[in-house]
Symmetry: C2
Subunit: 327 residues, 2 copies
């Protein structure tokens, strides 16, 4: 089942069911007004939404219309929590080198995670207003999961059962601000402006065998200003989403709609390229002795699209954004 949210002036958007081929959609508002409501009442709405999806895919949805991802907000324009891990150890270790920060203790056995703003997400085609190029504007391509309710101290296995939807996202980052915030020990705040999401959130079954071991086994194809930047494989995640959700729930219950992210997708193989500029920069420094790539300028564009192993487009749709100066 593929679900998206159209902008309608309401902070939670308008729920639509999207066809498997991504070409058509139908309003789900007779079942739930918006996706957050659907996630909160999942047991009651899952079957009616699936029936609507089946009808749409069979060409039997009377009120179907052409699906236009440029009219979409994030699938959840706001959510109760947004917690982002750093589950690709290759990325984390390169970042330690990039930021010249001390090694994170127990990095390969205990997930690290920060809490980000969840009240003001960006849609897949929204401009990204930021105050200054000097802040070191960077993208971070990731996968994430939307959870149902999880009790405090849920196990990794039980946490994985809580996964309702899978999403693809861009965790915008300001690299000039991150190292100081890490050194405070209080974590990222100014270094993490609004996060953006690909238009379509999907139930795990839509990924078939690409969803296994609590990981998204798909390559995230990233282009910066139209040029190939990388296509690292999400399957190389060192912690599963079950591990990450359990980490989040250790001392708090999670309310339905909580989003947990993978951290920047990153592969040990240099050939896969990167899903963020900071990683490419430190690789340049290591492999070539000097940093050659700058961070983003106003007017720059980034595109992110997950693909299956056979090269076909994934179901999330594309993130296509431009960085602009904040007014």
């Amino acid at each position: 089942m593929k679900l998206a949210s159209l902008k309608n002036g309401h902070p939670d958007g308008l729920l639509v069911v999207v066809s498997r081929d991504g070409r058509h959609a139908v309003a789900g508002t007779r079942i739930a007004p918006h996706l957050l409501d659907a996630v909160q009442r999942w047991d009651a709405v899952r079957r009616p939404l699936q029936d609507l999806s089946d009808a749409l895919n069979a060409g039997r949805a009377a009120e179907a219309f052409a699906f236009d991802p440029t009219r979409c907000s994030a699938p959840l324009p706001r959510s109760p929590q947004w917690l982002d891990g750093s589950a690709f150890l290759n990325h984390g270790r390169l970042m330690e080198e990039a930021f010249n920060t001390p090694p994170i203790p127990h990095f390969d056995s205990v997930p690290v995670m920060y809490q980000g703003a969840s009240d003001d997400f960006l849609g897949p085609h929204d401009d990204v207003p930021l105050p200054a190029e000097a802040d070191g504007i960077d993208f971070e391509g990731e996968f994430g999961v939307v959870c149902g309710p999880a009790p405090m101290s849920a196990s990794p296995a039980a946490s994985l059962e809580c996964v309702r939807l899978i999403v693809q996202l861009n965790d915008w980052s300001l690299r000039a601000l991150g190292p100081h915030e890490m050194k405070t020990g209080f974590g990222f705040l100014q270094a993490k402006p609004s996060t953006a999401f690909a238009p379509v959130a999907v139930t795990p079954d839509e990924l078939g065998q690409a969803w296994r071991d609590g990981r998204v086994h798909m390559r995230l194809h990233v282009q910066w200003n139209g040029e190939r930047f990388g296509e690292p494989d999400g399957g190389e995640m060192n912690f599963s989403f079950g591990d990450l959700v359990a980490h989040a729930a250790r001392t708090r219950r999670l309310t339905a709609g909580t989003i947990v992210g993978s951290g920047t997708v990153s592969n040990v193989s240099r050939g896969a390229g990167s899903a963020c500029i900071a990683e490419r920069r430190v690789i340049e420094k290591i492999d070539q002795g000097e940093i050659r790539t700058s961070f983003m300028r106003f007017g720059d564009r980034v595109r992110m699209q997950a693909r299956f192993d056979d090269g076909s487009d994934g179901p999330f749709g594309a993130i296509e954004q431009q960085v602009v100066p904040a007014r």
Copy 2:
């Protein structure tokens, strides 16, 4: 104007206006169903709510009833963001010693702040379910502000203008988990379970001269299991709430209902006592050579109540909570 939320089974609670003497209340639901809605439509609802408050205080509110703080949720049971500073440098410096963490760079010129969970706040009399005493259960008495919308990069002066309401809160902390999370650089997550709030949120005018320079000049009286623990003065805050809100808004716009906290109220004078156990412990170590106080046990109770300089109770009401094992 004093506002509170009664538990009614809805995640946002039911808005009530509380009398100046704290003895009576009247439903504000004809004006706004819940406080978050009121904060989001503040310009439209402020005057009608003030009229209702005036009528209540004059004994002219027909449907007034006895105000029972034990029926209250947090004033905002959930909010778009919860951002907590550490604006009492005395506390921060003692914590560095307690946690054996390196000095925070620019600590006296740039606020530090973490983002906490804002989807599941505790009411003033709610039990505090936690997984284990071994996590080092501690309270943290603080003041905070509820903001209206703030644009990205708002100045401290403009940020202070965004303050809609002032609150008193207990930022529950798990001290055995904090140092590791600080060392990761990603900040507090498991170390910060649900935060609790005193029942009444107030407009700044309710504090009179005790609200000045963007600070709450009131002592926060803290009792642990009925014994005096401390009464540090909120006026000693090294950054103002304007500074803190501006820090939060540097690279993100704030949506209405965002809550920004002061961090643990803490005074240089040892005579004021403390508003958290970790601070008392490190003072014991410094002044007496050894730590004598343990963290909380299940069944322990904490009480927090702000008072004016003349000794009279502040308008927020009291937080009175018991720590219990999570089921």
